[in-house]
Symmetry: C2
Subunit: 341 residues, 2 copies
């Protein structure tokens, strides 16, 4: 696949998300202008009228989609031509380099399991994303919600996948991998953490043991592993706290200033702050552990978030994320330290 893969478009589920298809199509147009090929998957009769004059993006037409009220997994199983499933199939068929959807996460997960399948040696796919660190770096965190109760073996696989992501997408030479916990000392951690520690210690990654959320966010490691329940709590806590912090600081700064002057001085600062710290800034999370690059966008995505998500999917596909995870998991099973290159 090598070079050819880079030329493949990103398959974009045009029908998923609160603002679909309009926000998705506008985001896709921006991506194409930024030099990334996109294949829109969805109802051509709804999509094409959204193209401005002179714009023509390929459409893979289907009228099936997963509705808001439906059980996601059941809907995906029943609707073989649902846009999200068809988009995943494009990756399986070699017609697209990655799939991006802003629809229901469960539906995307089901579609990817059906159309792409799990990587050998991975028990369950995981949701992976990055959080802003105080030192300007990014913290890779997984799982963020796909698996609420995890076995030690799954956490070990998450460690390998997070390590591969940090090395090949973020270009970090030897990422430090930590297990999320309530303290660093031996006596800390809950039953799950204490059970997982020896398993992670045997993984071919640079495992540094238990890490606390504050240490991780302050640059103590590059990858943090946890079950999907705890990871989801951490992700949403960080996102909410960043929003709370923004509110409070704005109040404190503007409270003692002439309102007009304050507004002028701060214009742009809060926008750039949100871009650096918000979900729409990073665009969405990866679903890792399936055979293909998959990006789970936020349902509320606006065109900016859609563009960011497409860029994220593109960079991971370019680095061959999914294939390299497969190699690392095979190497881990064989007890070999993953290649640093």
């Amino acid at each position: 696949m090598g070079n050819k893969k880079n030329a493949l478009p990103i398959a974009l589920d045009a029908m998923g998300g609160d603002k679909a298809p309009a926000a998705i199509v506008v985001g896709a147009i921006r991506a194409v202008r930024a030099g990334i090929d996109v294949l829109l998957v969805g109802d051509a009769d709804l999509i094409r009228p959204l193209f401005p004059k002179g714009v023509d993006i390929p459409i893979l037409h289907t009228i099936q989609a997963v509705g808001m009220g439906e059980s996601p997994a059941a809907a995906v199983r029943a609707k073989k031509e649902a846009s999200v499933r068809l988009a995943a199939r494009c990756v399986a068929d070699g017609r697209a380099s990655a799939v991006v959807s802003f629809g229901n996460t469960g539906a995307l997960m089901a579609a990817c399991l059906m159309e792409l399948g799990r990587i050998d040696g991975i028990e369950r796919p995981a949701v992976l994303s990055t959080l802003p660190r105080s030192d300007g770096g990014q913290l890779v965190i997984l799982d963020l919600g796909a698996n609420v109760d995890c076995k030690a073996s799954q956490l070990g696989q998450f460690a390998v996948m997070g390590d591969v992501f940090a090395r090949c997408v973020l270009q970090i030479k030897k990422p430090r991998v930590g297990l999320l916990s309530n303290g660093k000392e031996d006596a800390k951690g809950n039953e799950q953490v204490r059970g997982a520690l020896p398993v992670l210690a045997k993984m071919p990654v640079n495992f540094i043991g238990q890490v606390e959320p504050n240490d991780a966010l302050n640059g103590g490691c590059e990858v943090v592993v946890c079950d999907g329940f705890v990871g989801n709590v951490m992700l949403k806590s960080v996102e909410a706290a960043i929003a709370v912090a923004g509110h409070v600081l704005k109040e404190e700064i503007l409270g003692r200033l002439d309102a007009k002057l304050g507004a002028r001085l701060l214009r742009g600062a809060f926008r750039r702050y949100r871009a650096r710290t918000s979900a729409s800034g990073v665009g969405g999370a990866y679903l890792v552990g399936v055979k293909g690059t998959v990006l789970v966008g936020h349902g509320a995505a606006d065109p900016t978030a859609v563009l960011s998500a497409i860029k994220r999917a593109h960079s991971a596909a370019k680095e061959g994320l999914s294939g390299r995870i497969g190699e690392a998991i095979t190497a881990a099973a064989a007890g070999v330290m993953a290649d640093d290159t």
Copy 2:
């Protein structure tokens, strides 16, 4: 006890904490000046020289203290006159209205269990604190680390304790109590959460079901209940994210402004921001479920944090927090809705 209790001093472990006894004594002096009586418990030979001219705070002298390298529980058991244990005993003996320590949390917990004992019907004490909400309110959260793996019955008791705290210390009429989870829908939650839902639904509190961290921080409830592992992750995530947010915003604001103007603009704003959102602003967490008001201060507490902690302990003791928790737990066991007054 009624009125007399209000006149009792706060027993302050002068020997616990990274900056003890100096920071503790300076904080105590500020508290006395603010009208709160304090009883310093520790080595008089180290404490008294720290008093400025004209200041004299009562000291309960002891040369025993829990050292940094010791096993906290074992040290407290062995040292009957350790400052933290003696301070807790003052509450048991009716010589103090509350105990405050900035030393090891495990040591304080052990001291309180030995000297004060658990409230009848409480399986395990919990650590409770508040987080800033985006709407300006406070979110009560427990447990924050005392119990990493919790049974449903314990989470039920936490709900009752959090409810009492919100009503009697924060003066909230009918606090909404949520169970921390990764989503609101029935299918969400991990095994522990799903097991606890029916137990919490039967508690005599205004239980609203599962809540996500972002909803809770945005004003969706007043009390959030979780096990100590998850609570600790949420607390540290919020604290770290608020710090990260501060860094990023400062960079963004100062990056495009004349430095002098920027400094003038921001003077005070970040200080007030930290006061509203940081641990030293709130002063510490409560240990609830023991027979007495107990405040667990941060080890790194400076005099400002010490003063805040003393104030927090004072306000909870004034409201008879521990006694009212006892009444509510008894009422819950009897299936009676707690009194709103």
